[in-house]
Assembly symmetry: C2
Homo-oligomer: 223 residues x 2
């Protein structure tokens, strides 16, 4: 019997810290991540940092170029649009796959998250809770690849949601709340069709809002 710590692997710990920093916007797109800087900032060798960067690359959070290090990718308007179209196709599938395995504890946690959102939060708080809400609705999907794919799409587009919300999006937050309620309701009724419909509408609306704000992206003429 070992009551001691479960001895977390160290490269995962670094990956988790970097993920938080990237998703929270502390590290912005275009920034180059230097292995040595991260290494002695988090008190380890460069080797676990390299492994962590590989994990983050698999999660869609950084981009690796040979001999040129890792940097957070700049996406143009078209790429974000396609990533949202991928979400429109994959997340309904994840939802319907997750739906048969829902538990009452999951609905309690969803309710808790949603209440916290509606109690009024700032932009960072909303983005974090919104992410937790949706990924939780997919969490019972038995196919790990599908869950990972969905999470990767959320990661890749996180910065642009943040930029949009910071510019003037938060006034539409009440729409999001209504849509969240509709999704939970459909899940509780085990109504896959309704769930898919509300979810697709939810994602599509955000996609179109982003497309209507080209100032959030860098110039598309990089060809």
């Amino acid at each position: 019997m070992k009551s001691a710590a479960p001895e977390k692997p160290a490269s995962e710990r670094i990956a988790q810290i970097l993920e938080t920093e990237i998703l929270s916007g502390v590290i912005e797109p275009g920034t180059r991540i230097r292995q040595e800087e991260v290494a002695d900032r988090l008190g380890s060798s460069r080797l676990p940092v390299r492994e962590a960067l590989r994990m983050l690359a698999a999660s869609g959070l950084v981009q690796l170029e040979t001999n040129r290090g890792a940097r957070i990718p700049h996406l143009d308007k078209c790429e974000v649009d396609v990533l949202y179209r991928m979400r429109e196709r994959l997340e309904p599938l994840a939802l319907s796959e997750s739906m048969p395995h829902t538990t009452v504890e999951m609905f309690d946690e969803l309710e808790e998250i949603q209440s916290e959102i509606e109690s009024g939060v700032n932009v960072s708080g909303f983005l974090e809770l919104d992410r937790r809400f949706h990924l939780l609705t997919y969490s019972k999907c038995p196919t790990e690849d599908l869950r990972n794919s969905v999470a990767r799409l959320w990661n890749s587009t996180a910065h642009y949601r943040r930029a949009f919300m910071n510019e003037g999006g938060p006034h539409r937050q009440w729409i999001v709340n209504a849509e969240h309620r509709l999704i939970v309701d459909a899940m509780q009724r085990f109504d896959g069709k309704d769930g898919e419909r509300y979810l697709v509408g939810h994602i599509r609306r955000t996609r179109k809002e982003l497309a209507a704000h080209p100032e959030l992206f860098i110039e598309d003429s990089q060809k």
Copy 2:
């Protein structure tokens, strides 16, 4: 001016070799991959092997467990079914995104591949050419994430296609040929709707064929 070799990075070389071995079936699902074995088989240290395994994990070819190494995942019937449903949703998007950027050289290469398939090949040859055909039709899709996602789905399911073809699937090869021709035709007419329709039908038929052969999978009662 450097006429010398472009100096390929070494971990990529290892990843490529392992990918070939896995896709060709030399290494079967469930097999544990030992870092040291690969290292001195390919003449390098264990470190590039570790990085290569990370890449393969991102490509969906291996599964990494902390302190327990890398092994090729065993998928059950339900997981493969969901992976095929993901393909049905993502690949039509990849095709329509690729369609506006097609070139005459691409159609020449497609024709070359298809001719080789129709000239009669064995199972391994067919699987390799079929893979090249479809991934080539998506190759002009500008969104790298979408191309990678599609490739990952192909990788994860490759072994089960092989098992199916080896058991008695090849007699339906003429259907595949007809479907390939229909897809190329739709692409040349720039008919996105037709392309999506033929492609979805193509994938769905294979999914149902696999579902009708439960003997290809290990027992699903692993819960």
